[in-house]
Protein backbone atom coordinates (compact mmCIF):
# COMPACT_ATOMS: atom_id res chain seq x y z
CA UNK A 1 0.00 0.00 0.00
CA UNK A 2 1.04 3.59 -0.41
CA UNK A 3 3.08 4.84 2.45
CA UNK A 4 2.14 8.21 3.93
CA UNK A 5 5.29 10.27 4.13
CA UNK A 6 6.49 13.71 3.09
CA UNK A 7 7.00 12.56 -0.51
CA UNK A 8 3.49 11.19 -0.83
CA UNK A 9 2.04 14.42 0.54
CA UNK A 10 4.17 16.47 -1.84
CA UNK A 11 3.09 14.23 -4.69
CA UNK A 12 -0.56 14.73 -3.77
CA UNK A 13 -0.19 18.51 -3.60
CA UNK A 14 1.66 18.66 -6.92
CA UNK A 15 -0.89 16.40 -8.57
CA UNK A 16 -3.66 18.67 -7.31
CA UNK A 17 -1.75 21.64 -8.78
CA UNK A 18 -1.30 19.98 -12.15
CA UNK A 19 -4.84 18.62 -12.44
CA UNK A 20 -6.41 21.77 -11.01
CA UNK A 21 -4.38 23.90 -13.39
CA UNK A 22 -5.37 21.70 -16.31
CA UNK A 23 -9.00 21.88 -15.32
CA UNK A 24 -8.70 25.65 -15.10
CA UNK A 25 -7.25 25.78 -18.63
CA UNK A 26 -10.21 23.99 -20.20
CA UNK A 27 -13.01 25.51 -18.13
CA UNK A 28 -12.11 29.19 -17.98
CA UNK A 29 -13.61 31.48 -20.60
CA UNK A 30 -10.88 34.06 -20.29
CA UNK A 31 -7.89 33.16 -22.44
CA UNK A 32 -5.40 35.04 -20.27
CA UNK A 33 -6.64 33.16 -17.23
CA UNK A 34 -6.32 29.95 -19.21
CA UNK A 35 -2.69 30.71 -19.98
CA UNK A 36 -2.00 31.47 -16.32
CA UNK A 37 -3.68 28.23 -15.24
CA UNK A 38 -1.37 26.49 -17.70
CA UNK A 39 1.62 28.11 -15.99
CA UNK A 40 0.40 26.73 -12.65
CA UNK A 41 0.05 23.28 -14.14
CA UNK A 42 3.54 23.39 -15.66
CA UNK A 43 4.93 24.54 -12.33
CA UNK A 44 3.49 21.38 -10.80
CA UNK A 45 5.30 19.28 -13.41
CA UNK A 46 8.54 21.00 -12.41
CA UNK A 47 7.74 19.92 -8.85
CA UNK A 48 7.42 16.32 -10.08
CA UNK A 49 10.93 16.51 -11.49
CA UNK A 50 12.21 17.69 -8.11
CA UNK A 51 10.46 14.73 -6.46
CA UNK A 52 12.14 12.43 -8.99
CA UNK A 53 15.50 13.91 -7.91
CA UNK A 54 16.08 15.49 -11.31
CA UNK A 55 16.69 19.15 -10.38
CA UNK A 56 18.24 19.93 -13.75
CA UNK A 57 15.06 18.95 -15.59
CA UNK A 58 12.98 20.85 -13.03
CA UNK A 59 14.90 24.06 -13.66
CA UNK A 60 14.77 23.55 -17.41
CA UNK A 61 11.03 22.89 -17.18
CA UNK A 62 10.50 26.23 -15.44
CA UNK A 63 12.89 28.04 -17.77
CA UNK A 64 11.57 26.68 -21.04
CA UNK A 65 7.90 26.07 -20.39
CA UNK A 66 7.11 28.96 -18.07
CA UNK A 67 9.86 31.42 -18.94
CA UNK A 68 9.54 31.01 -22.69
CA UNK A 69 6.55 29.08 -23.99
CA UNK A 70 3.92 30.26 -21.52
CA UNK A 71 5.12 33.86 -21.88
CA UNK A 72 4.83 33.52 -25.63
CA UNK A 73 1.27 32.22 -25.30
CA UNK A 74 0.26 35.01 -22.93
CA UNK A 75 1.92 37.55 -25.21
CA UNK A 76 0.05 36.28 -28.24
CA UNK A 77 -3.26 36.24 -26.38
CA UNK A 78 -2.80 39.76 -25.04
CA UNK A 79 -1.82 41.21 -28.41
CA UNK A 80 -5.09 39.96 -29.87
CA UNK A 81 -7.08 42.11 -27.53
CA UNK A 82 -10.51 41.08 -28.72
CA UNK A 83 -9.66 37.52 -27.76
CA UNK A 84 -9.14 38.26 -24.08
CA UNK A 85 -12.79 38.74 -23.26
CA UNK A 86 -14.78 36.30 -25.34
CA UNK A 87 -18.22 35.61 -24.01
CA UNK A 88 -18.68 32.35 -25.86
CA UNK A 89 -15.57 30.26 -26.15
CA UNK A 90 -17.15 26.88 -26.67
CA UNK A 91 -17.64 25.97 -30.28
CA UNK A 92 -19.46 23.02 -31.78
CA UNK A 93 -16.37 20.88 -32.05
CA UNK A 94 -15.93 20.50 -28.32
CA UNK A 95 -17.06 16.86 -28.37
CA UNK A 96 -14.51 15.96 -31.05
CA UNK A 97 -11.69 17.29 -28.89
CA UNK A 98 -13.18 15.57 -25.84
CA UNK A 99 -13.14 12.19 -27.60
CA UNK A 100 -9.62 12.79 -28.93
CA UNK A 101 -8.34 13.72 -25.49
CA UNK A 102 -9.93 10.68 -23.83
CA UNK A 103 -8.48 8.37 -26.49
CA UNK A 104 -5.07 9.98 -26.15
CA UNK A 105 -5.23 9.63 -22.39
CA UNK A 106 -6.15 5.94 -22.66
CA UNK A 107 -3.33 5.38 -25.13
CA UNK A 108 -0.81 7.00 -22.80
CA UNK A 109 -2.16 5.20 -19.75
CA UNK A 110 -1.94 1.83 -21.49
CA UNK A 111 1.53 2.63 -22.77
CA UNK A 112 2.72 3.48 -19.28
CA UNK A 113 0.89 0.80 -17.30
CA UNK A 114 1.46 -2.21 -19.62
CA UNK A 115 5.28 -2.31 -19.43
CA UNK A 116 5.25 -2.34 -15.62
CA UNK A 117 2.17 -4.56 -15.23
CA UNK A 118 2.71 -7.54 -12.96
CA UNK A 119 6.18 -6.45 -11.94
CA UNK A 120 5.11 -5.90 -8.39
CA UNK A 121 7.70 -8.27 -6.92
CA UNK A 122 9.59 -6.67 -4.04
CA UNK A 123 12.96 -7.40 -5.66
CA UNK A 124 12.14 -5.17 -8.61
CA UNK A 125 12.20 -2.00 -6.57
CA UNK A 126 15.15 0.17 -7.52
CA UNK A 127 16.04 3.38 -5.78
CA UNK A 128 15.78 6.41 -8.02
CA UNK A 129 19.12 7.85 -7.05
CA UNK A 130 20.79 4.76 -8.54
CA UNK A 131 19.20 5.23 -11.95
CA UNK A 132 18.91 9.00 -12.26
CA UNK A 133 22.09 10.89 -13.01
CA UNK A 134 22.88 14.54 -12.47
CA UNK A 135 23.50 17.28 -15.00
CA UNK A 136 27.03 16.00 -15.68
CA UNK A 137 25.85 12.51 -16.70
CA UNK A 138 23.12 14.06 -18.82
CA UNK A 139 25.57 16.33 -20.58
CA UNK A 140 28.01 13.49 -21.26
CA UNK A 141 25.24 11.24 -22.55
CA UNK A 142 24.12 13.97 -24.96
CA UNK A 143 27.50 14.33 -26.67
CA UNK A 144 29.00 10.85 -26.25
CA UNK A 145 29.50 8.89 -29.46
CA UNK A 146 27.65 5.87 -28.09
CA UNK A 147 25.07 8.07 -26.39
CA UNK A 148 22.49 10.41 -27.85
CA UNK A 149 24.69 12.56 -30.02
CA UNK A 150 22.67 11.93 -33.19
CA UNK A 151 19.24 12.89 -31.78
CA UNK A 152 20.92 15.83 -30.08
CA UNK A 153 22.38 17.10 -33.32
CA UNK A 154 19.14 16.49 -35.20
CA UNK A 155 17.27 18.52 -32.59
CA UNK A 156 19.88 21.29 -32.89
CA UNK A 157 19.45 21.43 -36.66
CA UNK A 158 15.68 21.48 -36.27
CA UNK A 159 15.88 24.39 -33.82
CA UNK A 160 18.30 26.29 -36.05
CA UNK A 161 15.99 25.78 -39.03
CA UNK A 162 13.05 26.99 -36.96
CA UNK A 163 14.99 30.10 -35.93
CA UNK A 164 15.97 30.89 -39.51
CA UNK A 165 12.36 30.30 -40.54
CA UNK A 166 11.15 32.72 -37.88
CA UNK A 167 13.56 35.37 -39.11
CA UNK A 168 12.47 34.89 -42.72
CA UNK A 169 8.79 35.10 -41.76
CA UNK A 170 9.27 38.20 -39.63
CA UNK A 171 11.54 39.95 -42.12
CA UNK A 172 10.27 43.11 -43.73
CA UNK A 173 9.65 42.76 -47.46
CA UNK A 174 11.14 46.16 -48.31
CA UNK A 175 14.23 45.44 -46.31
CA UNK A 176 16.49 45.62 -49.37
CA UNK A 177 16.35 49.38 -49.82
CA UNK A 178 16.99 50.30 -46.19
Amino acid sequence: MIELNAQTIAFAILSALILGGGLGVVTTRNLVHGALWLILSLLGVAGYFVLLSAPFLAAVQVLVYIGAIAILIVFAVMLTRSMTSLGEVRNRQWWISAITVVLLFLLLAVGIILPVWGRGAPGDVTTLSATVGGAVELGEALVAGDGFVLPFEVASILLTAAMIGAIVVARDEEDGQA
Binding site: V62, G67, V74
Partner: protein
Protein backbone atom coordinates in the same frame (compact mmCIF):
# COMPACT_ATOMS: atom_id res chain seq x y z
CA UNK B 1 21.05 22.15 5.95
CA UNK B 2 20.51 18.47 5.47
CA UNK B 3 21.20 17.05 8.89
CA UNK B 4 21.54 13.37 9.62
CA UNK B 5 22.11 11.29 12.68
CA UNK B 6 25.86 11.47 12.21
CA UNK B 7 25.92 15.15 13.09
CA UNK B 8 24.35 14.64 16.46
CA UNK B 9 27.71 14.56 18.19
CA UNK B 10 28.69 18.01 16.95
CA UNK B 11 28.66 20.74 19.52
CA UNK B 12 26.21 23.59 19.68
CA UNK B 13 28.86 26.22 18.93
CA UNK B 14 28.01 26.64 15.26
CA UNK B 15 24.45 27.54 16.02
CA UNK B 16 22.97 28.01 12.55
CA UNK B 17 24.21 24.80 10.99
CA UNK B 18 23.75 22.51 13.98
CA UNK B 19 20.46 23.66 15.44
CA UNK B 20 18.70 20.38 14.73
CA UNK B 21 21.29 18.12 16.43
CA UNK B 22 21.29 20.53 19.37
CA UNK B 23 17.54 20.18 19.77
CA UNK B 24 17.72 16.41 19.40
CA UNK B 25 20.23 16.28 22.21
CA UNK B 26 17.92 18.44 24.29
CA UNK B 27 15.29 15.74 23.90
CA UNK B 28 13.29 16.90 20.84
CA UNK B 29 11.90 14.58 18.20
CA UNK B 30 14.23 14.36 15.19
CA UNK B 31 11.70 15.29 12.51
CA UNK B 32 10.39 18.26 14.44
CA UNK B 33 13.91 19.48 15.14
CA UNK B 34 14.80 19.19 11.45
CA UNK B 35 11.65 20.98 10.38
CA UNK B 36 12.27 23.75 12.90
CA UNK B 37 15.85 24.29 11.80
CA UNK B 38 14.81 24.31 8.15
CA UNK B 39 12.04 26.80 8.89
CA UNK B 40 14.44 29.02 10.78
CA UNK B 41 16.87 28.87 7.87
CA UNK B 42 14.15 29.86 5.42
CA UNK B 43 13.04 32.73 7.63
CA UNK B 44 16.58 34.04 8.06
CA UNK B 45 17.46 33.77 4.37
CA UNK B 46 14.23 35.51 3.36
CA UNK B 47 14.29 38.21 6.04
CA UNK B 48 17.90 39.40 5.87
CA UNK B 49 17.58 40.83 2.33
CA UNK B 50 14.19 42.35 3.20
CA UNK B 51 15.60 44.24 6.17
CA UNK B 52 18.74 45.20 4.27
CA UNK B 53 16.64 46.83 1.59
CA UNK B 54 15.24 49.34 4.07
CA UNK B 55 18.76 50.59 4.66
CA UNK B 56 19.65 50.37 0.99
CA UNK B 57 16.84 52.72 0.02
CA UNK B 58 18.32 55.29 2.37
CA UNK B 59 21.80 54.75 0.88
CA UNK B 60 20.45 55.09 -2.63
CA UNK B 61 18.59 58.29 -1.86
CA UNK B 62 21.60 59.83 -0.15
CA UNK B 63 23.85 58.77 -3.01
CA UNK B 64 21.50 60.20 -5.65
CA UNK B 65 21.18 63.39 -3.62
CA UNK B 66 24.96 63.92 -3.50
CA UNK B 67 25.24 63.40 -7.26
CA UNK B 68 22.45 65.94 -7.85
CA UNK B 69 23.98 68.39 -5.38
CA UNK B 70 21.25 67.96 -2.76
CA UNK B 71 21.33 66.83 0.84
CA UNK B 72 18.82 64.01 0.63
CA UNK B 73 16.71 62.66 3.47
CA UNK B 74 17.84 64.27 6.74
CA UNK B 75 14.72 64.79 8.87
CA UNK B 76 13.62 61.43 10.24
CA UNK B 77 16.09 59.99 12.68
CA UNK B 78 19.86 60.59 12.71
CA UNK B 79 21.08 61.47 9.19
CA UNK B 80 17.56 60.65 7.97
CA UNK B 81 18.19 56.94 8.56
CA UNK B 82 14.58 56.23 9.47
CA UNK B 83 13.19 57.87 6.34
CA UNK B 84 12.45 54.51 4.68
CA UNK B 85 10.48 53.37 7.72
CA UNK B 86 8.42 56.53 7.59
CA UNK B 87 7.83 55.98 3.87
CA UNK B 88 6.72 52.42 4.52
CA UNK B 89 4.26 53.62 7.15
CA UNK B 90 2.98 56.26 4.76
CA UNK B 91 2.40 53.64 2.08
CA UNK B 92 0.58 51.38 4.52
CA UNK B 93 -1.86 54.13 5.44
CA UNK B 94 -2.53 55.28 1.89
CA UNK B 95 -5.73 54.33 0.17
CA UNK B 96 -5.49 51.03 -1.67
CA UNK B 97 -7.20 51.56 -5.01
CA UNK B 98 -8.25 48.81 -7.38
CA UNK B 99 -9.21 50.27 -10.74
CA UNK B 100 -12.63 49.59 -12.25
CA UNK B 101 -12.64 46.62 -14.54
CA UNK B 102 -9.39 45.28 -13.09
CA UNK B 103 -8.94 41.57 -12.61
CA UNK B 104 -8.95 41.66 -8.82
CA UNK B 105 -7.23 38.35 -8.08
CA UNK B 106 -4.45 38.80 -10.61
CA UNK B 107 -4.12 42.47 -9.69
CA UNK B 108 -3.30 41.43 -6.13
CA UNK B 109 -1.16 38.50 -7.21
CA UNK B 110 1.36 40.49 -9.27
CA UNK B 111 3.10 42.34 -6.37
CA UNK B 112 3.36 39.08 -4.44
CA UNK B 113 5.03 37.27 -7.34
CA UNK B 114 7.35 40.24 -7.81
CA UNK B 115 8.56 39.92 -4.28
CA UNK B 116 8.63 36.13 -4.13
CA UNK B 117 10.77 35.69 -7.23
CA UNK B 118 13.45 38.01 -5.85
CA UNK B 119 13.46 36.43 -2.39
CA UNK B 120 13.67 32.94 -3.93
CA UNK B 121 17.05 33.75 -5.47
CA UNK B 122 18.52 34.29 -2.01
CA UNK B 123 18.20 30.56 -1.31
CA UNK B 124 21.28 29.87 -3.41
CA UNK B 125 23.54 32.75 -2.32
CA UNK B 126 26.61 31.35 -0.53
CA UNK B 127 27.24 33.76 2.34
CA UNK B 128 30.25 31.93 3.79
CA UNK B 129 31.89 28.56 3.06
CA UNK B 130 29.41 27.01 5.49
CA UNK B 131 26.28 29.10 5.21
CA UNK B 132 24.06 28.77 2.18
CA UNK B 133 20.31 28.28 1.96
CA UNK B 134 20.49 25.33 -0.42
CA UNK B 135 23.64 24.36 -2.29
CA UNK B 136 21.87 23.07 -5.40
CA UNK B 137 23.97 21.30 -8.00
CA UNK B 138 22.18 23.46 -10.59
CA UNK B 139 22.51 26.76 -8.70
CA UNK B 140 22.98 28.99 -11.76
CA UNK B 141 20.18 27.34 -13.68
CA UNK B 142 17.91 27.85 -10.67
CA UNK B 143 18.70 31.56 -10.73
CA UNK B 144 17.92 31.75 -14.45
CA UNK B 145 14.69 29.77 -14.05
CA UNK B 146 13.44 31.88 -11.15
CA UNK B 147 14.44 35.02 -13.01
CA UNK B 148 12.40 33.95 -16.01
CA UNK B 149 9.26 33.92 -13.88
CA UNK B 150 9.86 37.66 -13.54
CA UNK B 151 8.30 38.16 -16.97
CA UNK B 152 5.07 36.56 -15.73
CA UNK B 153 4.61 39.13 -12.99
CA UNK B 154 5.05 42.02 -15.41
CA UNK B 155 2.51 40.43 -17.71
CA UNK B 156 -0.03 39.85 -14.95
CA UNK B 157 0.45 43.30 -13.44
CA UNK B 158 0.18 45.09 -16.76
CA UNK B 159 -2.82 43.18 -18.05
CA UNK B 160 -4.92 42.99 -14.90
CA UNK B 161 -4.80 46.77 -14.35
CA UNK B 162 -7.20 47.34 -17.25
CA UNK B 163 -5.13 50.27 -18.44
CA UNK B 164 -3.67 50.82 -21.92
CA UNK B 165 -0.51 52.41 -20.63
CA UNK B 166 0.08 49.62 -18.16
CA UNK B 167 -0.31 47.03 -20.93
CA UNK B 168 2.01 48.96 -23.27
CA UNK B 169 4.53 49.28 -20.46
CA UNK B 170 4.28 45.57 -19.81
CA UNK B 171 4.96 44.77 -23.48
CA UNK B 172 8.01 46.95 -23.48
CA UNK B 173 9.29 45.48 -20.24
CA UNK B 174 8.79 41.92 -21.46
CA UNK B 175 10.60 42.70 -24.69
CA UNK B 176 13.47 44.09 -22.65
CA UNK B 177 13.57 41.22 -20.14
CA UNK B 178 13.29 38.45 -22.71
CA UNK B 179 15.94 39.99 -24.97
CA UNK B 180 18.49 40.61 -22.29
CA UNK B 181 18.04 37.16 -20.84
CA UNK B 182 19.91 35.80 -23.88
CA UNK B 183 23.30 37.49 -23.36
CA UNK B 184 22.92 37.08 -19.59
CA UNK B 185 22.56 33.29 -19.81
CA UNK B 186 25.35 33.07 -22.39
CA UNK B 187 27.62 35.14 -20.14
CA UNK B 188 26.74 32.90 -17.19
CA UNK B 189 28.05 29.92 -19.14
CA UNK B 190 31.57 31.31 -18.95
CA UNK B 191 32.00 30.94 -15.16
CA UNK B 192 30.32 27.54 -15.45
CA UNK B 193 32.90 26.55 -18.06
CA UNK B 194 35.75 27.72 -15.85
CA UNK B 195 34.47 26.09 -12.66
CA UNK B 196 33.13 22.94 -14.32
CA UNK B 197 30.01 23.12 -12.17
CA UNK B 198 26.74 25.00 -11.84
CA UNK B 199 26.65 24.91 -8.04
CA UNK B 200 27.16 28.29 -6.37
CA UNK B 201 29.58 26.96 -3.75
CA UNK B 202 31.64 25.18 -6.43
CA UNK B 203 31.73 28.38 -8.44
CA UNK B 204 32.98 30.31 -5.43
CA UNK B 205 35.55 27.66 -4.51
CA UNK B 206 36.89 27.76 -8.07
CA UNK B 207 37.80 31.43 -7.58
CA UNK B 208 40.18 30.72 -4.73
CA UNK B 209 43.27 31.45 -6.84
CA UNK B 210 41.91 34.13 -9.13
CA UNK B 211 38.61 35.92 -9.46
CA UNK B 212 36.62 35.25 -12.59
CA UNK B 213 36.42 38.95 -13.39
CA UNK B 214 40.15 38.84 -14.14
CA UNK B 215 39.93 35.59 -16.05
CA UNK B 216 37.01 36.77 -18.17
CA UNK B 217 36.27 40.49 -17.83
CA UNK B 218 34.05 40.41 -20.92
CA UNK B 219 31.68 37.87 -19.36
CA UNK B 220 31.51 39.98 -16.20
CA UNK B 221 30.69 43.11 -18.19
CA UNK B 222 28.01 41.39 -20.29
CA UNK B 223 26.45 39.84 -17.20
CA UNK B 224 26.47 43.18 -15.43
CA UNK B 225 24.92 45.14 -18.32
CA UNK B 226 22.29 42.48 -19.00
CA UNK B 227 21.30 42.46 -15.36
CA UNK B 228 21.20 46.24 -15.28
CA UNK B 229 18.67 45.98 -18.10
CA UNK B 230 16.69 43.26 -16.32
CA UNK B 231 16.28 45.43 -13.25
CA UNK B 232 14.73 48.05 -15.51
CA UNK B 233 16.64 51.00 -14.16
CA UNK B 234 18.24 53.94 -15.87
CA UNK B 235 19.77 53.81 -18.48
CA UNK B 236 17.33 51.00 -19.27
CA UNK B 237 14.25 52.50 -17.58
CA UNK B 238 12.17 52.60 -20.75
CA UNK B 239 9.36 50.83 -18.97
CA UNK B 240 8.70 53.92 -16.93
CA UNK B 241 9.80 56.54 -19.40
CA UNK B 242 7.74 59.27 -17.78
CA UNK B 243 7.15 61.26 -20.95
CA UNK B 244 5.94 58.22 -22.91
CA UNK B 245 4.40 55.63 -20.65
CA UNK B 246 3.86 57.53 -17.39
CA UNK B 247 5.02 54.75 -15.04
CA UNK B 248 5.08 51.45 -16.86
CA UNK B 249 3.18 48.32 -15.99
CA UNK B 250 2.56 49.25 -12.35
CA UNK B 251 0.94 52.60 -13.04
CA UNK B 252 -2.40 51.61 -11.50
CA UNK B 253 -0.90 50.36 -8.29
CA UNK B 254 -1.10 52.48 -5.18
CA UNK B 255 -0.43 52.22 -1.51
CA UNK B 256 1.42 49.21 -0.25
CA UNK B 257 1.06 47.20 -3.44
CA UNK B 258 3.09 49.85 -5.22
CA UNK B 259 5.46 49.74 -2.27
CA UNK B 260 5.98 46.05 -2.91
CA UNK B 261 6.84 46.71 -6.55
CA UNK B 262 9.27 49.41 -5.49
CA UNK B 263 10.90 47.35 -2.77
CA UNK B 264 11.03 44.42 -5.21
CA UNK B 265 12.99 46.58 -7.62
CA UNK B 266 15.41 47.70 -4.92
CA UNK B 267 15.86 44.13 -3.80
CA UNK B 268 16.47 42.94 -7.33
CA UNK B 269 19.25 45.49 -7.72
CA UNK B 270 20.74 44.32 -4.44
CA UNK B 271 20.41 40.67 -5.50
CA UNK B 272 22.13 41.37 -8.79
CA UNK B 273 24.98 43.04 -6.92
CA UNK B 274 25.36 40.00 -4.68
CA UNK B 275 25.27 37.60 -7.62
CA UNK B 276 27.91 39.61 -9.49
CA UNK B 277 30.07 39.52 -6.37
CA UNK B 278 29.59 35.76 -6.00
CA UNK B 279 30.10 34.84 -9.63
CA UNK B 280 32.88 37.20 -10.64
CA UNK B 281 34.43 38.81 -7.55
CA UNK B 282 35.21 35.65 -5.63
CA UNK B 283 32.16 35.58 -3.35
CA UNK B 284 33.22 35.01 0.26
CA UNK B 285 36.92 34.63 -0.54
CA UNK B 286 39.15 37.00 1.39
CA UNK B 287 42.01 37.03 3.89
CA UNK B 288 41.64 34.63 6.85
CA UNK B 289 38.45 33.10 5.55
CA UNK B 290 40.07 29.65 5.90
CA UNK B 291 40.46 30.10 9.65
CA UNK B 292 37.25 32.01 10.38
CA UNK B 293 34.55 31.06 7.85
CA UNK B 294 32.16 33.67 9.24
CA UNK B 295 34.48 36.38 7.86
CA UNK B 296 33.21 35.40 4.42
CA UNK B 297 30.00 37.23 5.21
CA UNK B 298 31.92 40.49 5.60
CA UNK B 299 34.02 40.02 2.45
CA UNK B 300 30.92 39.22 0.42
CA UNK B 301 29.19 42.25 1.91
CA UNK B 302 32.09 44.53 0.97
CA UNK B 303 32.24 43.25 -2.61
CA UNK B 304 28.48 43.57 -2.91
CA UNK B 305 28.66 47.14 -1.66
CA UNK B 306 31.22 48.02 -4.35
CA UNK B 307 29.06 46.56 -7.12
CA UNK B 308 25.92 48.15 -5.66
CA UNK B 309 27.44 51.62 -5.45
CA UNK B 310 28.74 51.25 -8.99
CA UNK B 311 25.19 50.43 -10.13
CA UNK B 312 23.89 53.52 -8.31
CA UNK B 313 26.55 55.62 -10.00
CA UNK B 314 25.46 54.39 -13.43
CA UNK B 315 21.79 54.88 -12.61
CA UNK B 316 22.28 58.47 -11.61
CA UNK B 317 24.68 59.59 -14.31
CA UNK B 318 23.78 57.85 -17.59
CA UNK B 319 20.82 59.14 -19.61
CA UNK B 320 18.06 56.83 -20.83
CA UNK B 321 18.38 54.89 -24.10
CA UNK B 322 15.68 54.72 -26.72
CA UNK B 323 13.93 51.39 -27.20
CA UNK B 324 15.50 50.79 -30.64
CA UNK B 325 18.94 51.59 -29.25
CA UNK B 326 18.40 49.16 -26.40
CA UNK B 327 17.39 46.40 -28.79
CA UNK B 328 20.27 47.16 -31.16
CA UNK B 329 22.85 47.03 -28.37
CA UNK B 330 21.46 43.71 -27.26
CA UNK B 331 20.92 41.80 -30.48
CA UNK B 332 23.65 43.28 -32.65
CA UNK B 333 26.36 43.68 -30.09
CA UNK B 334 25.97 41.76 -26.83
CA UNK B 335 24.50 38.52 -28.18
CA UNK B 336 27.15 38.02 -30.90
CA UNK B 337 29.86 39.05 -28.47
CA UNK B 338 28.73 36.57 -25.83
CA UNK B 339 28.44 33.71 -28.35
CA UNK B 340 31.96 34.37 -29.69
CA UNK B 341 33.15 34.72 -26.10
CA UNK B 342 31.90 31.25 -25.15
CA UNK B 343 33.62 29.68 -28.15
CA UNK B 344 36.83 31.57 -27.42
CA UNK B 345 36.76 30.81 -23.72
CA UNK B 346 36.23 27.07 -24.17
CA UNK B 347 38.99 27.02 -26.79
CA UNK B 348 41.37 28.89 -24.46
CA UNK B 349 40.53 26.61 -21.53
CA UNK B 350 41.33 23.62 -23.70
CA UNK B 351 44.54 25.31 -24.81
CA UNK B 352 45.49 25.91 -21.19
CA UNK B 353 44.94 22.23 -20.51
CA UNK B 354 47.01 21.12 -23.49
CA UNK B 355 49.88 23.46 -22.62
CA UNK B 356 49.79 22.27 -19.02
CA UNK B 357 49.26 25.76 -17.62
CA UNK B 358 46.37 24.75 -15.37
CA UNK B 359 47.52 24.69 -11.72
CA UNK B 360 47.75 21.36 -9.95
CA UNK B 361 44.69 20.57 -7.79
CA UNK B 362 46.61 21.16 -4.54
CA UNK B 363 47.75 24.57 -5.82
CA UNK B 364 44.32 25.60 -7.12
CA UNK B 365 43.99 28.35 -4.51
CA UNK B 366 47.50 29.71 -5.06
CA UNK B 367 47.68 33.08 -6.80
CA UNK B 368 51.04 32.46 -8.52
CA UNK B 369 50.09 29.02 -9.80
CA UNK B 370 46.97 30.53 -11.37
CA UNK B 371 48.82 33.37 -13.13
CA UNK B 372 49.76 31.57 -16.38
CA UNK B 373 46.22 30.44 -17.24
CA UNK B 374 44.82 33.76 -16.10
CA UNK B 375 47.14 35.62 -18.44
CA UNK B 376 46.12 33.44 -21.40
CA UNK B 377 42.40 33.90 -20.69
CA UNK B 378 42.76 37.62 -20.00
CA UNK B 379 44.73 38.17 -23.20
CA UNK B 380 42.07 36.32 -25.20
CA UNK B 381 39.33 38.45 -23.64
CA UNK B 382 41.17 41.69 -24.27
CA UNK B 383 41.83 40.84 -27.91
CA UNK B 384 38.20 39.90 -28.46
CA UNK B 385 37.02 43.06 -26.71
CA UNK B 386 39.37 45.19 -28.83
CA UNK B 387 38.12 43.58 -32.05
CA UNK B 388 34.50 44.22 -31.13
CA UNK B 389 35.23 47.80 -30.10
CA UNK B 390 36.97 48.42 -33.44
CA UNK B 391 33.98 46.98 -35.28
CA UNK B 392 31.69 49.23 -33.22
CA UNK B 393 33.83 52.24 -34.04
CA UNK B 394 33.67 51.50 -37.75
CA UNK B 395 29.92 50.95 -37.56
CA UNK B 396 29.49 54.22 -35.69
CA UNK B 397 31.53 56.05 -38.30
CA UNK B 398 29.39 54.65 -41.13
CA UNK B 399 26.24 55.69 -39.32
CA UNK B 400 27.54 59.18 -38.75
CA UNK B 401 28.52 59.52 -42.41
CA UNK B 402 25.06 58.43 -43.48
CA UNK B 403 23.55 60.98 -41.10
CA UNK B 404 25.81 63.73 -42.40
CA UNK B 405 24.98 62.85 -45.99
CA UNK B 406 21.29 63.01 -45.15
CA UNK B 407 21.76 66.35 -43.40
CA UNK B 408 23.65 67.72 -46.41
CA UNK B 409 20.78 66.78 -48.70
CA UNK B 410 18.23 68.36 -46.40
CA UNK B 411 20.17 71.56 -45.87
CA UNK B 412 19.00 73.54 -48.92
CA UNK B 413 15.32 72.89 -48.22
CA UNK B 414 13.35 76.02 -47.25
CA UNK B 415 12.74 76.59 -43.57
CA UNK B 416 9.04 75.86 -43.98
CA UNK B 417 7.37 73.02 -42.15
CA UNK B 418 7.14 70.57 -45.07
CA UNK B 419 10.83 69.64 -45.15
CA UNK B 420 10.42 67.71 -41.93
CA UNK B 421 8.15 65.16 -43.56
Amino acid sequence: MGLTGGDVLTTCVDFINTLAPCLVRAGWHGDIANLLSLLLGVVIVATVPLLTVILLIWIERKFAARIQDRIGPNRVGPYGLLQSLADALKMLTKEDITPTGADRVLFNLAPIITFATVVLIWAIIPFTPLHIGADLSIGILYFVAVGSIGAVKVMIGGWSSNNKYALLGAFRTIALIVSYEVPMILALLVPVLMAGSMGMQDLTHAQGGMWFIVMSPLAAIIFFIANLAETGRSPFDLLEAESELIAGYHIEYSGFKFGMFMAGEFMQVFTVAVLTAVLFLGGWWGPFVDQVPALGFIWLGLKTAVVYLFMLLIRNTVPRFRIDQVMNINWKFMVPLSIVLILLQSFLLRLVDVLGLRPAPELANDLLANLPQTLVLLAGNLVLGAIFLLLLQRHGRTLRKADEALAAVREPAPAGGMAEA
